[in-house]
């Protein structure tokens, strides 16, 4: 279903509750009342077109409007991407970690298996942190600087130098690795972890991993299909100037 601005946000969440963390990134928390998307966005000073486009792309990946999303400023895109990183690092990852620790402590006979899981996840986490850190300290600041320089017509030599150094395309490969490990982990849990009586936490874990996976895929898609082409365009206009 295509989400539109006159719809009530509450109806949208009824329709797809996976959007809750997405609206959180725009500063909307549950208990937001009975307003339409439009009125809630206006009250919160949210760019409504951007909000809707992001929501639609998350809700149905086939509704990703590439050209339109690329038309928004890099600053706006990056602000959203950064908030998404924060959601992973401050919420999702710790939640999953806690769950695995809890599973390990509860079970005496399967302890060893859970410890293996814990180690695997730890490794995964460090990889993700490294990737995010590189984006936040190198890639994003560079993109914002690039956009500002072009807007203000003040392109410095050092920026041009850096634009030659960076390779924005190495990006995609890292995304594949991040997704791959999550799939591995899910397969281990679904197929290979020796069965235990406590299915409740396992189910929870699987669910959390699936939620994280979907979010990461959406995030990587925005980076690969929106941000990277946008940067390539900016870089092109840099050399044309």
């Amino acid at each position: 279903m295509l989400l539109e601005k006159q719809m009530k946000l509450a109806d949208v969440i009824h329709h797809d509750y996976n959007l809750v963390p997405v609206i959180n990134r725009f500063g909307i928390v549950l208990g937001f009342g009975d307003g339409s998307i439009e009125s809630i966005c206006n009250n919160k000073n949210i760019d409504i077109d951007f909000f809707l486009t992001i929501l639609n792309a998350f809700h149905d990946p086939q509704l990703l409007d590439k050209e339109f999303l690329q038309s928004f400023s890099a600053r706006l895109l990056i602000d959203y991407l950064r908030k998404t990183h924060n959601y992973y690092l401050a919420h999702k990852i710790p939640e999953i970690e806690c769950l695995i620790v809890e599973m390990a402590s509860e079970s005496s006979d399967k302890k060893r298996s859970y410890e293996l899981l814990q180690k695997f996840f730890e490794e995964y986490k460090n990889e993700l942190i490294k990737h995010i850190d590189r984006e936040e300290t190198r890639v994003y600041p560079y993109v914002i600087e690039l956009e500002e320089a072009i807007q203000n017509n003040s392109v410095s030599e050092s920026l041009i130098l850096r634009s030659n150094e960076y390779s924005i395309t190495s990006y995609e490969e890292e995304h594949d690795n991040v997704e791959e490990k999550l799939t591995d982990l899910k397969n281990i849990i679904i197929k290979y972890l020796p069965p235990s009586k406590n299915q409740k936490n396992r189910f929870k874990l699987l669910k959390e991993l699936t939620v994280l996976e979907k979010d990461l895929v959406d995030h990587a898609r925005i980076e690969d299909l929106i941000l990277v082409p946008k940067v390539e365009l900016l870089e092109k206009s840099l050399t044309n100037n």
Partner: protein, 201 residues
């Protein structure tokens, strides 16, 4: 129902993609795993990494890179490539696909056609649980101990290429690709001992 079969659809035309998806849903045990999203970078690699049994390609959407992509896909012996064709598609292109679906056919015809293609393929893994062979276990064991492909090859007197082929098969059977994931599997199944792994790190 046997193993689910994965289909990757390579098309950027929404109407066509939606139609194909709709068609595939009619067949039991088929799953549309991924739809081409417009990024042409490393497309064939992306397709292969999804480990599909079938790839359905709309030649129209990847005109310039169609030939190299088909070549790379043809190296994956397990993948069956199906082309979407019409009356006006040039014979040169039609002949490059092992199977084709005619865009102008109706739904029944298309289902029949697809069933034929799907049924023709005999998959030895179909019903029984995939188990890894002795050789594969041996390779898995060494990988879990932290050896590189080259080191495993030297140790077992194999070529690196052979080790890689075995590794691909292991990944396909287990659904685990990363070395750390494979190590967890090896530990859970007592293929290696935790003390050995720790010693080797």
């Amino acid at each position: 129902m046997g193993k689910t079969k994965k289909v990757v659809v390579v098309s950027d035309a929404f109407l066509l993609t939606a139609g194909i998806e709709n068609l595939i849903l009619e067949l039991s045990g088929m799953l549309v795993d991924h739809v081409f999203d417009g990024s042409e970078k490393r497309l064939s690699e992306k397709i292969i990494s999804k480990k599909p049994e079938f790839v359905i390609i709309d030649p129209e959407c990847i005109k310039e890179i169609l030939i190299p992509i088909l070549r790379e896909l043809s190296e994956e012996s397990d993948i069956i490539v199906i082309g979407i064709v019409t009356k006006v598609t040039s014979q040169n292109i039609v002949s490059r696909f092992s199977h084709t679906l005619d865009k102008e056919n109706n739904k029944f015809q298309l289902i029949e056609c697809l069933q034929k293609i799907v049924g023709n393929q005999s998959d030895p893994l179909e019903d029984n649980e995939p188990t890894i062979s002795k050789r594969e276990t041996e390779i898995l064991q060494n990988l879990a101990l932290g050896l590189t492909n080259q080191e495993v090859a030297d140790k077992l007197f194999l070529s690196v290429h052979t080790v890689m082929t075995h590794r691909k098969k292991i990944t396909r059977k287990l659904g685990i690709k990363s070395i750390s994931g494979l190590t967890v599997y090896a530990l859970l199944n007592n293929i290696v001992d935790i003390r050995e792994v720790e010693r080797s790190v």
